[in-house]
Symmetry: C2
């Protein structure tokens, strides 16, 4: 754990950093990243240096590279996709008298950065004395617009202190910055020692096609060398300064700049507004891309700085109204959950039929790929807080259905095989036992479709997007599975969520999720028979799906009386945790997959994830026994685990343990728990902190369309409040130690469950309160030695 000493945990609506710790600069660049799902700017300092990892990312914009194999094999993807750090437009370099402003030189009298969750803005205030003694205050504000998706804007102000100063501000566009490495690494866990070839392929990835400067406008157009994608960035400026302020422009292949020079008296200010517009395409021609960037720029300048700030505030006010989570009694957690929701929104808000990557647009980790993280962790949040973003993420999957069909065909199967990791929809996984073999991705997508459909009630989406996704994923299961001699439907040789197991028979999570997928597809066919016929689905096929779902095998250890993660799992040797020193975690950096796969050791919730996502298929007693069995085997080497363990711990009555896990999920990046926040934020874990609160302590489930709650607050929290929005209304849930209170904030009427009791909410029913039933006592499960979560829940005095 790296706690960041400069973060102030007391502000409920902002993350404030006082001072500047260059040792954790890269981490803070991820934390202070701004994005809208379409474009993303890392929180690099305005002046470009010092820098941890420079980063500007455009959703879907990537370079391809060959995937190397020591031994080739049929079906291995030949090409990978890697996110590209595009032209950096956020650079504002400052000269004070004859010295370049650099926090490493001179004297940094004060430095503060604030990420404002309501303003949607990164503010910075610097007080600096140059080595020669000139003093300035610098104030910058940066936003990536939620309302104008290709647009970012910067306000940059400098004020001499004590005496006048000669100031030069250079507002730059710079392409092919050094420092970007795209070394491949595994998903969901700590980074491993990368392959230098991965990085080599991406040095200088862009070739310049066009540069332009006129008045205070500059523009650069580049193309990726292999994938041939075009990117155009344009910037315009407004300058306010004392009389005599001069501007000039320059441009070259990989750089363009506007230079503002002024003699500024003490008390006066030199202010530069920079409007930035990005456009890109893998298909369209240069004039079209250029025109799109120019159009976006014109609109942004027309809106103006104040207008952009107002739009931003309005967008976020609307978001928080439906999404906010209140945690009274734990201010640090309150801040962390809003930080999480803000970044989840930034990852998905305007992705608009492009992927939501595991790192969002905050870093180049995992090559910028999207995984199941999106459907299984991010969309459950967005579905109830920002449903349009959830719908668009699923539309993106729908648009890649052709590629997924091709992939299934290549592998010899029917239906669609969605990629384990991708930017465009092409499978980019170079290690198939933890890639293509993780076929649960298909069921995860289907599950997200079904959830969105229940919440939205959108018949057009259901028919045009949901149905084809459900049908093609269902077909894959029929093609993958077989009936055994006992007429059980089985899925052999697949990899479940736990990446310390692979190629197992009948992974319980996968089988139960496939069951849901098959039933959901059959119901969708019943609901849309004509559209289904258009996809070639008749009654026979959907009957086949129902039969397979009914016959789905779920492996159970009758002696231990516990569900098996997969067939035979509980017969394996238990990992020798006592002999595993703390420094050998994450295990994948110190032990071969060979040994991990063959033993009972769990990287991340797998059977325990099934207890949550398919909770309707387990009794309460089974859940309690399974959680108690798998806890001592689960090492949480993946950032996707703590939030799930929090949910199931809460459901099985371990509220303090749940609170501890919630802390891990919520502070994954603020405390850099996996030591790789520098490469980008763990968006799924951030989403998971919402899940831990809402599904964990709120006990929220949505298995059958009725919103169910079984709330209980942990000892450290006085009151928990959250909102769940569906098409028929939005309910505010407030929970304290004794009671839960339900308020219908919009809509006419809604039925919910409170601890299995049906409660009718109407527009007039106001705040309906229900008592919280007592909790059965269960002994706190133990974890592998040295892998206990940090105790957040110190027993109260």
């Amino acid at each position: 754990m790296i706690t960041h000493p400069n973060y102030d945990a007391n502000d409920p609506w902002a993350l404030r950093e006082r001072g500047l710790d260059l040792g954790t600069l890269a981490q803070s660049e991820s934390v202070f990243a701004l994005a809208n799902g379409h474009i993303g700017l890392r929180g690099n300092l305005d002046e470009g240096e010092p820098v941890g990892l420079p980063g500007t990312y455009l959703n879907g914009f990537h370079e391809t590279r060959p995937l190397p194999y020591a031994e080739s094999a049929y079906g291995n993807p030949e090409a990978g996709e890697t996110v590209v750090n595009v032209t950096d437009a956020k650079l504002m370099r400052l000269h004070v008298d004859d010295e370049l402003f650099d926090v490493r030189y001179g004297e940094l009298l004060s430095h503060e950065r604030v990420l404002d969750f309501r303003a949607g803005m990164l503010r910075r205030e610097v007080h600096w004395r140059s080595p020669a003694g000139a003093e300035v205050r610098i104030r910058s504000k940066r936003l990536v617009s939620f309302s104008q998706r290709g647009v970012a804007a910067i306000e940059y102000e400098v004020e001499p202190v004590g005496r006048s100063a000669r100031l030069v501000i250079q507002s730059e566009l710079v392409t092919n910055e050094d420092g970007h490495t795209g070394a491949p690494s595994g998903p969901g866990g700590a980074e491993h020692g990368g392959d230098p070839r991965g990085a080599a392929a991406l040095a200088q990835p862009l070739e310049g096609l066009e540069s332009f400067a006129d008045d205070m406008r500059v523009s650069l157009v580049h193309r990726t060398k292999r994938s041939g994608a075009l990117v155009c960035v344009s910037a315009d400026h407004e300058v306010e300064g004392p009389a005599g302020t001069e501007t000039t422009v320059e441009h070259g292949d990989d750089a363009a700049r506007v230079i503002v020079a002024a003699d500024v008296p003490e008390g006066s200010t030199l202010r530069v507004l920079k409007f930035i517009s990005y456009a890109w395409s893998g298909h369209r021609a240069l004039p079209s891309v250029r025109a799109q960037a120019r159009g976006g720029l014109a609109e942004a300048a027309h809106t103006g700085w104040d207008g952009l700030c107002e739009e931003q505030r309005a967008y976020l006010d609307a978001f928080w109204e439906g999404a906010d989570v209140e945690v009274d009694g734990d201010g640090e957690l309150q801040q962390a959950i809003r930080f999480s929701l803000f970044h989840v929104l930034q990852a998905g808000a305007r992705a608009e039929r492009r992927a939501i990557a595991a790192k969002g647009l905050t870093g180049s980790g995992y090559d910028g790929h999207a995984f199941w993280d999106s459907e299984s962790f991010v969309l459950p949040v967005l579905t109830y807080t920002s449903p349009d973003a959830a719908a668009d993420a699923l539309r993106w999957r729908f648009e890649t259905l052709g590629l997924a069909r091709d992939r299934a065909q290549q592998l010899g199967w029917a239906g669609a095989a969605f990629p384990w990791r991708t930017i465009t929809g092409q499978e980019c996984s170079g290690y198939w036992p933890a890639g293509s073999a993780a076929v649960h991705i298909g069921a995860d997508i289907a599950d997200a479709v079904l959830r969105y459909q229940r919440a939205s009630g959108d018949p057009v989406f259901a028919r045009e997007v949901g149905l084809p996704l459900l049908v093609e994923t269902a077909r894959l299961w029929i093609s993958l599975g077989h009936y055994d001699r006992k007429n059980r439907f089985r899925l052999a040789g697949v990899t479940g969520p736990d990446e310390y197991s692979a190629l197992s028979d009948d992974n319980t999570y996968t089988n139960l999720m496939a069951r849901r997928n098959l039933l959901g597809a059959a119901e969708a066919v019943d609901a849309h028979p004509e559209s289904a016929a258009g996809l070639g689905v008749g009654h026979d096929e959907s009957t086949q799906w129902r039969r397979a779902a009914d016959a789905m095998h779920v492996p159970y250890d009758g002696i231990l009386d516990v569900h098996m993660q997969a067939e035979g799992f509980t017969h394996h040797a238990v990992w020798d945790f006592e002999a595993t020193p703390a420094e050998n975690y994450p295990l994948l950096l110190h032990y071969p997959y060979f040994d991990l796969y063959r033993k009972q050791v769990v990287k991340q919730a797998d059977l325990v994830l099934a207890l949550y996502t398919c909770g309707d298929r387990f009794t309460a007693e089974q859940k309690a026994r399974a959680f108690a069995y798998y806890e001592p085997l689960t090492v949480r080497d993946s950032s996707l685990s703590a939030c799930v363990q929090a949910i199931v711990a809460a459901e099985t009555g371990h509220l303090e343990l749940a609170y501890d896990y919630l802390g891990e999920a919520a502070y994954m990046d603020l405390h850099d728990l996996e030591h790789n926040t520098r490469d980008g934020l763990h968006i799924a874990s951030l989403a998971g902190s919402w899940l831990a609160l809402v599904a964990g302590f709120g006990g929220f489930r949505d298995h059958d369309g009725v919103l169910s709650f079984a709330p209980r607050v942990p000892p450290g929290v006085d009151r928990l409040a959250f909102r769940i929005g569906v098409s028929t209304g939005r309910v505010l849930v407030e929970v304290d130690a004794e009671n839960a209170h339900y308020t219908l904030q919009s809509g006419e009427a809604l039925e919910i469950h409170h601890h299995a009791e049906l409660v009718h909410l109407t527009a007039d029913s106001g705040r309906v309160s229900r008592p919280i039933p007592p909790l059965p006592h269960r002994e706190r499960p133990r974890q592998p030695s040295g892998r206990e979560p940090l105790r957040r829940s110190a027993p109260r005095a």
Copy 2:
């Protein structure tokens, strides 16, 4: 199948090719390769062109190259080793008048090549008319000496026909020839489309350090660029020609030559003798390597051409006396089995503490790596026919024990983990599920040790070589396995012989072979308690081994009443053979491992191999049922399968089927059945043809030190005779349709089993005959559609 139309199948002691088929040139270069286990020359034409794949290989001489991974992981080998085509010393180029001799131009009046299994020599006779009408007869003889291991020699004679001719013979050394590709490919099966980087790393692999020419001696010294190994080749010449014959020498970095020019009258001959000596080392300095080559050359020239030929003949006479197999009634098979034995000898004779590669020294296939092929297929032949070669091969493993211990430690285990594929002992497998996970290699080595010890009775070997190998392999099993709740010892997540399955629990072959390893190690410790103590083995440890062996789990399907290849195997879906078109074999080129692993489809004998190697652990009835069950699942996409299927088919009474499989094993390379003989011979399959005859139709087993025979000849064979040599004597076994006859050819007394009847043989007992019991009728098992073996056993009229 590519039958070679030019091979004459009628010569029992030689392979004769009439004419020259350029379309199968590369295949014939493998077939006509000469080697002695130390150096190997492909059967390239003397004049160097046309050429399929130029090749000269030195055992152990290799280049290293980085092994690339799309996703890195702990324990993946970082470097691979690849055999290098070294300086070509067999080149003899001929000018006739003013034209270069090239079979593609002018008129090839006759062309014959003969590989003589008793002379140990490749002879060639050519009658050629140049485009300008000059006619010559060319006779060349080439040998790689068994008696002088670094030495090869060539006799090259040219005689003008019809009129005199101006002849120039250029005897060359040439380094860094084009045409060598080291593309990686999987073991035991057909080659796949390789990674071009594998080849790129090996273009021009040698850098010149020294070249030299004096009188008629030339010499070149080179070094590999990465691994830094030195190779020196020296050649000396003797020339006989008409008066006026002149010689000159030239030398440069990558070439040296002796040029012989003469005006030769009709009826006269120009004759050049070339003595070649190779020396190489990865450790020693240049002067030492140079001196070794020079010394070998001097000895060869001193011995002279006739002397080398005599030594060669004497060596082979001794070999055939103990190794010959006679097959009366099937001349083609007679030739093929001697061809096989000759090449097995060439692969192993003088390997002398270096590896016996899968391709021997006949081609660059599989990067020149050694696999389990050596211990499991080649050594069972050499142990009883050329025991010193078997001992040396095991001494090589012993000398790599340090590397294997290091590898085990890296993987987190005790004992020794031998590499799946290697040249030096370093693991070079870049795909661990079919590499490091195939831990049965350790038991295969232990089995070969135990077999050699039983046969040789050599106590020094047993103590100094056998004991450490047995102890360290046994330790691996204890570290890999665990006791389950029923106190069964289990080995989870390993890969057995069948490469269409991987990472299974309790592979029956592996478990039973591990059991033998553990018991053998415990017995070795009892036999050598002091040496064992020196290895840290006490009574407690060997007791632990015995306990694990006794508790070893063997998975059995009680419903089907058949042994499982691995736990759960028979619960998997059966591969859809009916839907698999013939052109989709080998399956690995058309289907992903993902799908192959999860279904019942067997690349090569696995459970059926266990029926043979661990036949003492199955009843006759179990064997019959298991063979009948696995035959319809086995596609024989590996060259290691047919011979094993032949053995078990014979044992279970399917003599005609066994005969068919024997044909496949014996003609693997002569008929190019796997379409990759161009890359080198399948040494294990060649050895397997001996096994199919001796263990199959001879019913030879050696499970407990008593040589057991259960002979039965198939319908196509009148008489089968073979020899088995052990330290106490050599027995000649002759079998006809009614009787078996046993003769002790050397030694005082030997007990054998004939169909379970104990028979005492003595020096005086002469030819002891026993009747062959009748065969129970069993229905011929079927194979997957389209994968039936070619029928060799047409029912006789």
